[in-house]
């Protein structure tokens, strides 16, 4: 791969002796949409948690932008430009949509407590700049009319989009999406796929996503990695993976 933004080598993780991820290696090219698929319990979410430092791999290394690390903390990952959405509501429920999105800009904040308290120096300029960036992202994800809604009161599909907005507004280099379309109907999935494709195209963000709907995966992604019991059983372009007998045996052939 010519210019990988992310490269995993021999990464393993176990929980109480059970191997969640077993000597996993693959690379993600800059600017691609890479899908992680596999049955429940295959280690997909655990893998995302290693990538942004929520879990620590037992062995192996992860290289992001050519820099390898055995352990990265979530905050450091975010500050390096690894964004993330979550499978289940991890939004700030009591805050408005706008405040959730503004919170996603924290890594770009250059102002201090005193500037905030007294509204002095750079505070005004930054507030205006952040508001403009947040509005732009809200507009991009068609959320502008919901900006003042309290997040906990929104329907599930909208919350998923707010989660994406909160991650996108900080302009990450790499965006990890944990089942961004889970529980959505077909129209909602089409809309979400469109937003994800546009985020890659317009903003140049590399995306790694977990998705169960194989139709969506085949349409959206450039690269598919198939996991089963923590091992990699397939890795390549969607068409090649679709026809790989090992993949069919492990995943596509089974009913869900």
């Amino acid at each position: 791969m010519p210019d990988p933004i992310l490269r995993l080598s021999e990464v393993s993780l176990s929980f109480k002796g059970i191997k969640a991820i077993n000597a996993l290696s693959f690379a993600v090219a800059r600017g691609e949409i890479c899908a992680l698929i596999g049955p429940n319990g295959a280690g997909k979410s655990s893998l995302l948690n290693i990538l942004n430092g929520v879990y620590r791999a037992d062995s192996g290394t992860v290289a992001f932008e050519g820099e390898s690390f055995a352990r990265i903390r979530p905050l450091a990952a975010a500050q390096r430009g690894i964004g993330r959405t979550f499978q289940h509501g991890a939004l700030f429920g009591k805050l408005s949509v706008l405040d959730n999105v503004l919170a996603g800009l924290t890594r770009h904040s250059r102002t201090t407590l005193a500037e905030h308290a007294f509204g002095i120096f750079r505070d005004h300029a930054q507030t205006r700049d952040f508001r403009a960036r947040a509005e732009e992202t809200l507009g991009f994800l068609d959320l502008s009319s919901h900006r003042n809604s309290i997040v906990a009161t929104l329907p599930y599909g909208l919350q998923k989009r707010v989660d994406l907005a909160r991650a996108l507004v900080g302009r990450p280099k790499l965006l990890l999406l944990d089942e961004p379309m889970a529980g959505m109907n077909r129209d909602e999935k089409r809309a979400m796929s469109r937003f994800i494709a546009q985020a890659r195209q317009n903003l140049g963000i590399t995306i790694v996503l977990i998705e169960h709907d194989i139709g969506v995966v085949m349409d959206l992604s450039d690269h598919v990695v198939v996991l089963d019991y923590g091992r990699k059983v397939g890795d390549g372009p969607p068409d090649a993976v679709r026809n790989d007998p090992a993949v069919i045996a492990a995943y596509l052939g089974t009913r869900h």
Binding site: F86, F92, A103, T106, S109, H116
Partner: protein, 353 residues
């Protein structure tokens, strides 16, 4: 927007479940100005008893509640160190006034607050490792330790033999502020300025970081919020406000500096202020303080009118405790966001009519 997206958003829109923010800045300004004007007018009209026994303690309790609200209501870091922070503020300001008498009163008050903020930051250090309810334990330790230190080392009280030191007279720019009107003016001005600063703060990026940490700290770190720094900032800001409240309590209300008036009971009382008024609401601090200051007075009025001498003071105080306890349990179950949320909901219902 692409047509697919618009169609999808129409599908998402499931009717009137959207809720507006309870306090909108534009709408909050007019009532605040009116409230300040009303309190200003009170200086001219109210009797000394009203200023001394009701309005001054009300404003100071509201300020202490506001301080705890920053730490606990906005940033979600439970603290029982409020009394200790108030004591630190009172002693710090006392020593500044005593040892640097040429410095003007407002400077000493603000510096006293900043010193308390620094102490609060140290007390907040365990919050980096301890979460939620368990954080009460180290703040409780700080409450006892600071109270003990202030009594143990006579330097803090300028080697006074009595444990209650009489406070220096309040004066600024040659004006004597020790009359009830003067002390009320000092209190009101301080409370208004601190409240405005706090209001700015909770609506800033710092305030958003606090609420993000409170609502979901793991997600906060993942999206790039420095969780530890946000917690320490919340302890600093909250303690600084409590410190100013403590200094006012000593100088503008009691007239003495006494660590015993900032014991654990005070910490609990301030916590009750924000539980009753509303955690995560600046207005809630004032509502809760009003409740806690006015209820005992109203209660004793009612009791003496209804039963005359049949109920003595001790019984009345017990009755008061029972009422507060019952109310706090009821609020925690029915309305965890306090009277402020209850009033906001009532207001919305009226507006809809």
């Amino acid at each position: 927007m692409p047509p697919i997206a618009s169609a999808a958003s129409a599908a998402f829109d499931t009717g009137p479940r959207r809720v507006r923010l309870p306090v909108l800045p534009g709408r909050a300004i007019l009532p605040s100005v009116l409230a300040v004007a009303a309190f200003g007018a009170a200086t001219a009209v109210a009797s000394d008893y009203w200023l001394d026994a009701i309005l001054i303690p009300f404003l100071i309790m509201a300020l202490a509640g506001l301080g705890l609200n920053l730490t606990m209501g906005y940033a979600g870091q439970a603290s029982l160190g409020t009394g200790a922070f108030m004591a630190t503020g009172a002693y710090a300001t006392y020593n500044l006034l005593l040892r640097l008498p040429e410095w003007p009163l407002p400077v000493s008050l603000v510096l006293g607050g900043l010193i308390t903020g620094a102490v609060g930051l140290v007390v907040g250090l365990p919050s980096l490792r301890i979460k939620g309810f368990y954080l009460v334990a180290p703040t409780l330790a700080a409450q006892f330790l600071i109270e003990w230190a202030l009594n143990q080392y006579p330097w803090f009280s300028n080697h006074t033999s009595s444990s209650a030191i009489s406070a220096p007279r309040l004066a600024w720019l040659g004006h004597d502020l020790s009359s009830p009107q003067g002390r009320y003016a000092v209190t009101l001005t301080s409370v208004v300025l601190v409240t405005l600063t706090a209001w700015k703060l909770v609506r800033s990026q710092t305030g958003r970081e606090w609420m993000a940490v409170r609502d979901m700290d793991t997600a906060a770190a993942v999206i790039g919020i420095p969780v530890g720094a946000a917690k320490l900032k919340a302890f600093f800001a909250g303690a600084a406000v409590c410190g100013i409240a403590g200094a006012l309590w000593a100088f503008a209300y009691l007239g003495t500096v006494d660590a015993r008036s900032f014991d654990l009971d005070r910490s609990f009382q301030v916590m009750f202020v924000i539980i009753i008024g509303g955690m995560g609401s600046l207005a809630g601090s004032f509502i809760g303080a009003a409740f806690i200051v006015f209820l005992p007075i109203a209660l004793s009025q009612i009791a003496s009118n209804l039963f005359g001498a049949a109920i003595d003071g001790g019984q009345l105080q017990n009755l008061q405790h029972v009422l507060f306890g019952g109310l706090i349990i009821a609020l925690l179950i029915k309305e965890p966001d306090g009277l402020a949320a209850l009033i906001a909901r009532f207001g919305r219902r009226l507006a809809r009519r």
